[in-house]
Amino acid sequence: MIKVALAGNPNVGKSVIFNALTGMRQKIGNWPGVTVEKKEGVCKYKDVEFHIVDLPGIYGFTAHSIDEKIARDYILKEKPDVVVNVVDASNIERNLYLTMQLIEMEANIVIALNKMDLAEQRGYKIDVRKLSRELGVPVTPTVAVRGEGIEELKSAILQASKTKRKPSIRYSDGIERYISLVESKVIENSILPDCPLRFVAIKLLELDNEIMKEAKVGKEVIEKWISLVS
């Protein structure tokens, strides 16, 4: 039995993929304590049960809106075995922003590159294999409304649950210096050892309220660290 989470921007076809994977075996409830809908379902593939949770559609993982907070908490605390990142191929740049953050969170992601038909219609030609190589994660093209690519997606999910690769993407040298520095401080002070290192470092740099609170690290401390970068 593996835990799978579906994450992606709103309107990318996440629900269609959720329905395609779980069929009738779904239930709808609420995330605890809030009025946001929670959808869960089960998919059986080659004798393995995928327990799938459809996270709310979000554009980022800040703590600003309830939806983002729910998604973030789920991925960090429940630690799903696989996160399926549904990306709208016809809007790929905006959608990859979330992907970047998922990679920062060191989530074990599989990208479902959906709406390939719409992308084609809009004049985009996407080299899926190259994309997968560049991002360092498996990418499965899908046209969810037609049911295309769903079986391949299930296979990719199963594969990912076994290999559990941790992709990493490096940004420009300038910012990587700061990230490395904060990472070393995090290790030094044993801050939030259960959370992915890079993620914690980046969130502290962004002065994320939630993480600062959990790490018990204040703004002045972080600014002091920053000033250490020559």
Binding site: N11, V36, S65, L96, Q101, Y171, S172
Partner: protein
């Protein structure tokens, strides 16, 4: 250094790098949606187009539904007529006035509501609404709301219950709360009968204009209250509108009917429970104590009259008497009950109310009553949803309080000004 922006830039740089290697742009052909959007989001005609489409929705709802409403009305009047001839006077009164009378009044308004919902659903399915939200966003941010608040506000003209539930699409909590709190000022369809009755009786040819004025007043007050709430309670500013524009589609009658059916069901459930119970309660209050009122004839001696008289001192500065008091109290349960209550108190059928009210109201007090109906409190069902979506009695209490106070003040001003002007 602001790392939030730095990191955003870093991420996008990386994305640009990757996409540059893997995605090839052949050429973006002009889409059908582009053609329509050119017109619909045009800076000059965009908003007028939106207004005219809204007008079409309500016009469709109200004119097409007339035969259906009349059919229901005729049917229930016939039932009430038969019931009133039953031997047992108690049973006769209960069935004809309480049961058929009360419920009939309510169901007569189902057709307009249903048709408005259908028209709105069709419009929604074409994919036009996000464009409309986009077009009104600029105007809305100036009053402290954002474009996404627009659809719930619009739905509020039908019924506040689904409208407030629709605020779940608004991400920012402050935006969402403000939208919920001012939503009841969007005059729901249940209040329309009150406007139609009073405007028709006192303003004849200008009735349409007066009714529109009520709606406009609601919108203006909503804008004012939203600005006040934004400024004094919430602070900050509305979040920028980030919205998907789906491609246009031709809606099918089948899917439009299926979707509207869901919304209509909500109203029917409300009608079957709260409105029905409310009508029965009103009947009870108006006909009891049974002996004192002689089977419902001497309304003066009923509990309803006592309630009305108790409220009278508060509303008499507005030119309203105890009969209005009872009707307004009934409106707490559901706005649809206001007219039914009046009919019951005056002891007349629906057609008779229009004549009788000229004895109890003046044009100025009629305006005052309409204004109070517009503002004072949302019906019980709406209050329930407000409590559910706001999450606490504290906020719900605030909504109730501001509405009651605002209603009184504005009605007072309206009455004073109208009295002077009309003399």
């Amino acid at each position: 250094m602001d790392f939030v922006s730095e990191l955003a830039v870093a991420r996008y740089e990386k994305i640009g790098e990757i996409v540059g290697k893997c995605v090839e742009k052949i050429e973006k052909p002009r889409t059908f949606s582009d053609v329509i959007d050119t017109v619909v989001t045009d800076k000059y005609v965009g908003i007028p187009i939106f207004l005219s489409l809204m007008w079409a929705v309500f016009q469709f709802g109200y004119s097409i539904s007339v035969p259906f409403s009349d059919a229901i009305d005729v049917f229930f009047a016939w039932c009430a007529g038969i019931a009133s001839r039953i031997e047992n006077p108690y049973l006769a009164s209960f069935l004809s006035d309480g049961f058929f009378g009360g419920w009939g009044f309510v169901l007569v308004f189902l057709p307009p509501i249903a048709f408005v919902f259908i028209a709105l659903t069709i419009l929604e399915q074409t994919g036009y609404l996000p464009r409309a939200a986009f077009v009104v966003d600029r105007a809305m941010t100036r009053v402290g709301l954002q474009g996404k608040s627009f659809i719930p506000m619009l739905l509020g003209f039908g019924c506040n219950v689904p409208a407030i539930m629709a605020t779940r699409t608004i991400d920012d909590e402050a935006d969402r709360k403000i939208t919920i709190m001012v939503n009841p000022l969007m005059s729901c369809s249940a209040r329309l009968p009150v406007y139609v009755l009073f405007a028709g009786a006192f303003f004849k040819e200008s009735a349409g204009a007066v009714i529109t004025l009520m709606y406009v007043l609601g919108i203006i007050l909503a804008a004012v209250m939203a600005t006040l709430f934004r400024k004094f309670i919430f602070g900050g500013s509305p979040s920028p509108l980030l919205m998907e524009l789906p491609p246009y589609e031709v809606p099918t009658i089948k899917s439009a009917l299926m979707s509207s059916w869901l919304r209509i069901q909500i109203f029917l459930k409300k009608a079957a429970t709260i409105l029905f119970i409310g009508a029965v309660i009103m009947w009870f209050l108006a006909t009891h104590p049974w002996d004192a009122t002689n089977g419902g004839e001497l309304i003066e001696n009923s509990y309803a009259s006592m309630i009305g008289h108790a409220v009278e001192p508060i509303i008499s500065p507005l030119g309203l008497d105890w009969t209005a008091g009872v009707a307004l109290v009934g409106g707490f349960l559901a706005k649809e009950i206001v007219i039914g209550t009046l009919a019951m108190i005056y002891g007349v059928g629906e057609e008779g109310v229009a004549d009788v009210i000229t004895q109890h109201f003046t044009p100025a007090s009629a305006l005052a009553l309409m204004t109070i109906t517009l503002i004072y409190v949302p019906c019980l069902a709406t209050l329930g949803v407000v409590r559910q979506e706001l999450g606490s009695w504290k906020w719900t209490g605030l909504v109730l309080a501001y509405e009651l106070i605002l209603a009184y003040i504005v009605a007072l001003i309206v009455y004073a000004v109208a009295s002077v002007v009309m003399l």
